[in-house]
């Protein structure tokens, strides 16, 4: 399977077979991601890291991945010092970065920005999140985490919890999990329910998600609880946010009813939705999940820039 030169914009651009290939490739990258093995797969290559919006994990893990692969990183994490502030179009910024590097990773506040960038760049573009749109590398690392921990994704009982309306990770994830035939339950406050078009997509893939607002009941036989933060920045009005913030709290009391093999995932940052007391339980997988961003992003960078393994 050849990924050289390919853009990574949306999980929907990939078949299940291609996703499986990426996940297997990421598994082979794991010893290099941990620093147990060393090889300069991308020596002499340069990655442009263009973050028009704040990011901690995505940016750092992409940059760490490129360094682990032996390549170099240029870019910015705050557009205030760039020509964007002078009114430069995204298309022109991308043309410039394209001529300076071998691949571009970007995060942008507007939906579709990465797709647009891919039109103007000759080198591959990796989407690190575009507004409330796609975040395919997060989706791939989530799939990688579930597959690594549970050995398979299909038939697993998976809860997606929290802000299912505005949360970008859960939309792509619901679609990808449906590709594998996972059994999905969507738990959210009534005003933050999963959009209809996402449910329609699940249905088209033969999955009929259960929708509820009661976590206590849903958690009993679940294999995976995927929690998300209720993101203040995505709410059009502060009142709506205030009404729903703190709707769910995962703590040891709640987990008394859970399957002992339940794993809790979260794309992070968390605020109040997971009590720190959960961190020391065997259920807590969110920090390992964050680490998994490294082998997955190393795999993607190596694949699209044509490194060998």
């Amino acid at each position: 399977m050849n990924f050289k030169g390919r853009d990574i914009i949306s999980i929907k651009d990939f078949s299940k077979k291609e996703i499986n290939y990426i996940l297997e490739y990421a598994e082979k990258m794991t010893p290099y991601a941990k620093g147990e093995k060393h090889k300069e797969f991308l020596k002499g290559k340069i990655l442009s890291s263009l973050f028009f919006e704040p990011s901690t994990r995505t940016r750092l893990s992409f940059e760490s991945s490129m360094n682990r692969l032996g390549g170099k990183v240029i870019g910015f994490s705050d557009p205030s010092g760039t020509s964007q502030k002078k009114g430069e179009s995204l298309a022109d910024t991308i043309r410039m970065a394209d001529s300076y590097s071998d691949a571009i990773v970007m995060r942008h506040p507007q939906e579709g920005a990465a797709r647009l960038a891919a039109e103007f760049a000759n080198s591959p573009v990796l989407n690190g999140g575009d507004g409330a749109g796609s975040h395919p590398t997060q989706c791939l690392l989530d799939l990688f985490t579930i597959k690594t921990e549970k050995k398979r994704i299909g038939k697993k009982k998976i809860i997606l919890l929290g802000d299912l309306k505005y949360g970008r990770t859960v939309h792509s994830l619901a679609y990808a999990l449906s590709l594998y035939g996972a059994e999905l339950t969507f738990v959210s406050p009534p005003t933050l329910k999963m959009p209809k078009e996402v449910i329609d997509e699940c249905n088209e893939l033969g999955v009929e998600p259960v929708q509820t607002s009661i976590l206590e009941k849903a958690i009993k036989d679940a294999d995976v609880l995927y929690a998300t933060r209720i993101q203040k920045e995505r709410f059009p009005d502060a009142e709506e946010y205030n009404r729903v913030v703190g709707s769910y709290k995962i703590n040891n009391e709640l987990l008394k009813n859970a399957n002992e093999n339940l794993i809790i995932m979260h794309p992070l940052p968390r605020v109040t939705e997971i009590d720190p007391e959960v961190d020391s339980t065997t259920h807590a997988l969110y920090f390992k999940q964050a680490f998994n961003g490294i082998p997955v992003r190393m795999a993607l960078l190596n694949l699209v820039m044509g490194g060998s393994l």
């Binding site: 949306s10 179009s89 579709g112 647009l116």
Partner: protein, 151 residues
């Protein structure tokens, strides 16, 4: 009983026939009538035909260009366009909805990159022709009422 035409024949111009009943007004809207036109326009709504009821629009002294025909395809996919010259049908063709709609509809998502100053045209993939369902190539959003979004 003698058959009578609801709208008289026109000497030259365009007849848009087989518009779904009720959609004639939307067709006028996307053609910029009456704001951008001084042509004489006749509209017949809910006219009986062999294939059920339909709307008809007749525009005098104006032949639609391909871009206008593409727009009509979005809201009246079964329509036929008749170009009239000297009281006769000089050209007749069905509107055809292509797989991609470029530069005709603006995205309903205000934060979609296609709604910013970037040097690109709006672009939608046609997911389903009947009922019409289109998806933004950039932000993947599907506008609910396409006729309201036609540029």
């Amino acid at each position: 009983m003698k058959k009578e035409l609801k709208i008289p024949l026109i000497e030259s111009g365009t007849v848009i026939d087989h518009i779904e009943p009720g959609n004639a007004v939307k067709v006028l809207h996307i053609l910029g009538i009456p704001k951008k036109s001084t042509s004489v326009v006749s509209v017949a709504m809910n006219v009986k035909s062999r294939m059920g009821r339909k709307d008809i629009v007749k525009i005098e002294n104006r032949e639609l260009d391909p871009n206008e025909v593409d727009k009509i395809a979005l809201i009246a996919p079964k329509a036929t366009i008749n170009i009239i010259r000297n009281y006769s049908v000089a050209e007749k063709h069905r509107v055809e909805l292509t797989d991609e709609v470029v530069g005709i509809v603006c995205c309903s998502n205000p934060t979609c990159i296609s709604n910013s100053k970037e040097p690109v045209k709006s672009r939608f993939k046609v997911i389903c022709k009947d009922p019409l369902k289109i998806r933004c190539y950039y932000c993947e959003r599907e506008p609910d009422d396409v006729s309201e979004r036609i540029i």
